[in-house]
């Protein structure tokens, strides 16, 4: 049989298996190789909710989806073209995500009676055999047996052999997509420097997988995905949480102040703590606090002392910080609150994504306590957004919410990383010491941006007291004066609004600056909306895409932009939150497209919804 090679613009592959099957690693390695080949790429790992659910069961399935192409790739793909399943539970959990006509690569040992029972198919109901997969191309490979054979002479333990079966699959896929093995080989050699026999075993299996594709006749086609037209430069792969860490560290560096990070672990924010705790030689102090309240409080304490105070959490942990954030509003100290949103309410679905904490960030405190809100759009953009959040917190002495989410946190993309010399300076202005000046130090005196000075302990002559009671303008003394309260309430609002003077104007991301409809998004929906809008434009629709990074205050020109469109459509992974802010701020009858399923938008569903709205209008 002659194997044909086909050229594809983009391909979506989903690796799925038991938590112990190494699917995340397989996915990452494929991603790296693919990125090195010059494709554009986006990924979406999905973890089981359990640490390790019983082997072979549906709750224990772990998967990793990647979407790469020669064109611009902005999402991890709606449905996948290829679904790799290491056992029957993986098939059960993921089949609905495969497009009709797609390829299933099934590890047949994962479809034995035991596995079929565990997956609740029933031992006599093997989907590979009962005809239920007739809509798909099924390729059966006994990965387990082949791996064992491959390593039969290796002297490796049963366990080690079992563990390398993902390499077989990876090799096979590399052959299918014409990828070179070298970067994976060098990765394996490095990872197992201390256990070269394991490295060798893995490499052998990888190669055998590759050769299996070459030599057997199960595959009719291979595929080539050409290099993408992406901007020249040096790239690395980065997840949202990694980029967030870098953004914080970079901002503290650019201000030449220490970064104090107080946090309490929670999914999907914990990795930020993990990463930062390894950066002790970057002026970073991490403090794993006893709870979220202590976490944010410690950050406030550190901010009082002249550090950039940062705290992170998700879901219920963010709710717990509300009271202390209110204190920071009163104290006017630099504080960044990282909310890596997850599906709610309450404990909700911790491993799933959602963007339903925007209004909480806006309004979730007692009293009128305005804060700044910034949201990253892509994994790489987490760097810029975290940098900006920190810069604004420091330069404006104000708490800033940074709203990422589980999808950004764990998803990755190729990132053209910046160099330090290209980064903005962050201006820190500590109140200078006084030597017996006559005029008293006024801790709540403000500059033209309405910012008070950062008056840190250790500075002679500016000893003063701050607190959560209403403060008298200028002196900062406790005040119950009615007019002063009105004044301070207004000032706290105005100083947020004034930040609009120094943030970039809103750009139209795709499309014209006027037209039938504008899709307005924020946060992690960026890729889906961008892709949908571009496809709709190609289909002849007059639509544009505006993506808001600065959610409070809004960029000054946002209202103007919105007014140039007949319709404002706001897709969100919540029941409608930004849409409320837009309606309220700009009096536009904005419409929402809402999805609350713990999953990102599919491009197709977004397009469908937009089309429906546009047709309704007519």
């Amino acid at each position: 049989m002659q194997v044909k090679d086909q050229v594809r613009d983009d391909v979506t592959i989903r690796f799925a298996g038991d938590s112990g099957d190494g699917m995340q690693l397989t996915g990452s390695l494929f991603t790296n190789t693919t990125a090195l080949q010059g494709n554009d790429i986006r990924t979406l790992p999905e973890f089981p909710a359990e640490i390790r659910a019983p082997i072979g069961t549906v709750p224990g399935v772990s998967s990793f989806q990647l979407h790469f192409g020669s064109k611009e790739i902005m999402t991890p793909g709606d449905e996948c073209d290829v679904l790799v399943v290491m056992n029957s539970a993986a098939l059960k959990a993921n089949l609905s995500l495969l497009r009709k006509g797609g390829i299933i690569i099934a590890n047949t040992s994962g479809f034995d009676k035991k596995n079929l029972n565990l997956a609740k198919y029933g031992e006599d109901n093997n989907p590979l055999e009962n005809g239920s997969l007739s809509d798909y191309i099924v390729i059966e490979v006994d990965v387990t047996r082949l791996t064992k054979e491959s390593l039969s002479d290796s002297g490796l333990s049963y366990k080690d052999i079992e563990r390398s079966k993902n390499m077989f699959v990876l090799g096979l896929l590399y052959w299918m997509y014409n990828r070179p093995l070298d970067s994976t080989i060098s990765f394996l050699n490095q990872k197992f420097t201390k256990k070269p026999e394991i490295a060798q075993g893995n490499i052998k299996v990888l190669k055998d997988g590759y050769h299996y594709g070459e030599t057997t006749e199960v595959f009719a086609e291979t595929y080539t995905v050409k290099k993408a037209q992406i901007g020249a430069g040096e790239y690395r792969s980065i997840t949202g949480n990694e980029a967030t860490v870098l953004g914080l560290v970079a901002a503290a560096r650019q201000g030449n102040i220490p970064l104090f990070f107080g946090s309490y672990p929670i999914t999907p924010a914990s990795d930020i703590l993990h990463e930062l705790s390894a950066l002790k030689n970057f002026g970073v102090t991490t403090f794993q606090a006893e709870d979220e309240i202590a976490a944010v409080s410690s950050a406030i304490g550190a901010a009082f002392g002249g550090s950039l105070g940062v705290t992170s959490s998700s879901g219920p942990g963010i709710a717990l910080k509300a009271e202390a954030v209110g204190l920071a509003v009163m104290l006017e100290l630099p504080l960044v609150i990282l909310n890596i949103q997850r599906a709610g309410p309450s404990t909700g679905m911790p491993t799933k994504t959602e963007q339903s904490d925007l209004l909480q960030a806006m309004y979730g405190r007692n009293g009128e306590s305005p804060v700044v809100i910034i949201a990253p759009a892509t994994p790489g953009d987490c760097f810029d957004a975290a940098f900006e959040a920190s810069r604004i917190a420091i330069e404006h002495m104000i708490p800033v919410y940074f709203l990422s989410d589980g999808y950004l946190a764990n998803g990755s993309e190729p990132w053209k990383f910046p160099q330090q010399k290209g980064l903005k300076k962050v201006n820190v202005r500590f109140e200078p010491a006084r030597n017996g000046e006559d005029n008293p130090f006024l801790p709540y005196a403000r500059d033209e941006r309405l910012v008070r000075s950062w008056a840190i302990p250790g500075t002679p002559g500016i000893e003063h007291r701050v607190g959560g009671l209403e403060k008298e303008a200028e002196t900062g003394n406790v005040s119950y004066d009615p007019d002063n309260h009105q004044l301070m309430t207004n000032l706290r609002k105005e100083r947020v609004d004034k930040i609009a003077d120094s943030i970039p104007l809103q750009q139209v991301d795709s499309g014209k600056d006027h037209g039938d409809a504008v899709l307005v998004g924020w946060g992690s929906t960026y890729g889906s909306i961008r892709t949908a809008v571009r496809e709709l434009m190609v289909e002849g629709y007059s639509v544009s895409h505006v993506h808001i990074k600065y959610l409070n205050p809004f960029p000054k020109n946002l209202g103007e932009i919105l007014n140039n469109f007949d319709q404002v459509i706001v897709p969100e992974m919540n029941s409608g939150q930004l849409v409320k802010l837009l309606r309220d701020t700009f009096f536009v009858p904005a419409k929402g497209i809402n999805k609350v399923k713990g999953r990102p938008f599919f491009v197709d569903e977004l397009k469908q919804e937009v089309k429906t709205i546009l047709s309704e209008k007519v």
């Binding site: 790296n32 690395r236 970079a250 606090a289 006893e290 410690s298 002392g305 330090q420």
Partner: protein
């Protein structure tokens, strides 16, 4: 190789404050607004008096409090200060101390602030042994919210929220602190200013979390709660002052002592010659078991009974142990030492990159 930041530069640039302080130098321009006669006044006075003796520049001192009557304290000190939110002063102080270990930090908190809403942070502060001084103003009531019983109020307390008497079993602050592995546990009272002053200075000189419980009279909502200790008439039989290496002696004529009978402390009289000083429990603030026993000298038996245990004042326990804030900074310094100050560009590059042309 160091991580010098603009904080360091900024602080170094400031001309050092004049160090010839008197107590008055620590009095801020704010009117003191506790109820007339409140025990907080004496405590404020003693803290202000102690400040010149601790040898720290004014600008390096920070008072941090939660919420409550006691918590207004920082406003009255002419140092840096933060009147924060209810129960969280310990956590705020932890963040500040870790990031600025050179500062002298004082936490001021009430019994409600520390042991009701703030119990968790207090526990963790104590076990981490963050090097701050913690003054717990215990008046056995919520003063600021006008008189509800507090977790240290004895059961049966009739208060605004317990018209039929409270049924809570009171928290024993010192047992709690020992159970939380506090490294310095002491008690004083508002009405013995000299002793209070000594205790403040002892707390200051201890490395680690120095927890000083101060019995403080709330004249409005719980007047007389500690009268038996503060009243000069009853104090001799109701209180015993602890001195390192000295026997536990009390009584109107110092005629009583405490003796250990196995593990059981007993009150003995030295009048009839049966027991002398040499038979008594010698105070050893390094002995945690003894400290724990001392912390439980609580109102038993009834007053008047000659076996009634006096309440101990002084340092019940003090041990040297690593401080969290020091260790954090030692660890950071160690990493910097080994790895050098991190290079941002290398960090941004990460491990693996590729070039698109």
């Amino acid at each position: 190789m160091s991580l010098e930041t603009i904080i360091d530069l900024h602080i170094k640039n400031g001309a050092p404050g004049d160090m010839n302080y008197t107590g008055k130098d620590f009095s801020s321009d704010q009117d003191v607004r506790w109820c007339p006669g409140c025990g907080d006044y004496t405590i404020l006075k003693q803290v202000q008096t102690a400040m010149p003796e601790i040898g720290v520049k004014k600008e390096d001192i920070v008072f941090i409090s939660g919420i409550g009557c006691a918590a207004r304290f920082p406003y009255y000190m002419d140092t840096f200060g933060m009147h924060s939110i209810h129960g969280r002063a310990a956590a705020i102080a932890t963040g500040l101390k870790i990031s600025r270990p050179e500062l002298s930090i004082w936490v001021i908190s009430g019994d409600g602030d520390s042991l009701s809403i703030g119990g968790n942070h207090f526990l963790h502060l104590l076990r981490r042994n963050v090097n701050v001084n913690y003054l717990l103003f215990n008046n056995q009531v919520y003063g600021l919210t006008k008189g509800q019983y507090s977790p240290t109020a004895p059961s049966g307390s009739v208060s605004k929220s317990t018209p039929y008497g409270s049924i809570d079993h009171a928290v024993n602050p010192l047992s709690f602190a020992l159970g939380a592995d506090g490294s310095f546990v002491a008690r004083a009272m508002d009405r013995d200013p000299k002793h209070l002053n000594q205790m403040i200075l002892r707390a200051n000189s201890h490395r680690g979390t120095s927890m000083l419980e101060i019995y403080q009279n709330c004249i409005v909502f719980n007047d007389g709660a500690f009268e038996r200790f503060t009243d000069k008439k009853t104090r001799p039989v109701e209180a015993v002052y602890l001195e390192q290496g000295e026997p536990l002696i009390f009584g109107e004529k110092n005629e009583k002592g405490i003796r250990l009978d196995g593990l059981v402390p007993k009150v003995v009289s030295m009048k009839n010659g049966e027991f002398s000083k040499d038979d008594l429990w010698i105070h050893d603030e390094k002995d945690k078991t003894k400290a724990y026993m001392l912390s439980r000298f609580f109102d038993q038996p009834e007053p008047g009974d000659e076996n009634r245990m006096p309440r101990p004042f002084g340092v019940l326990f003090a041990e040297e142990r690593f401080c969290y804030d020091e260790e954090v900074n030692r660890q950071i310094a160690g990493v910097v030492e080994r790895k050098g100050v991190g290079n941002l560009d290398e960090l941004l590059r990460g491990r693996e990159t590729w070039i698109v042309k």
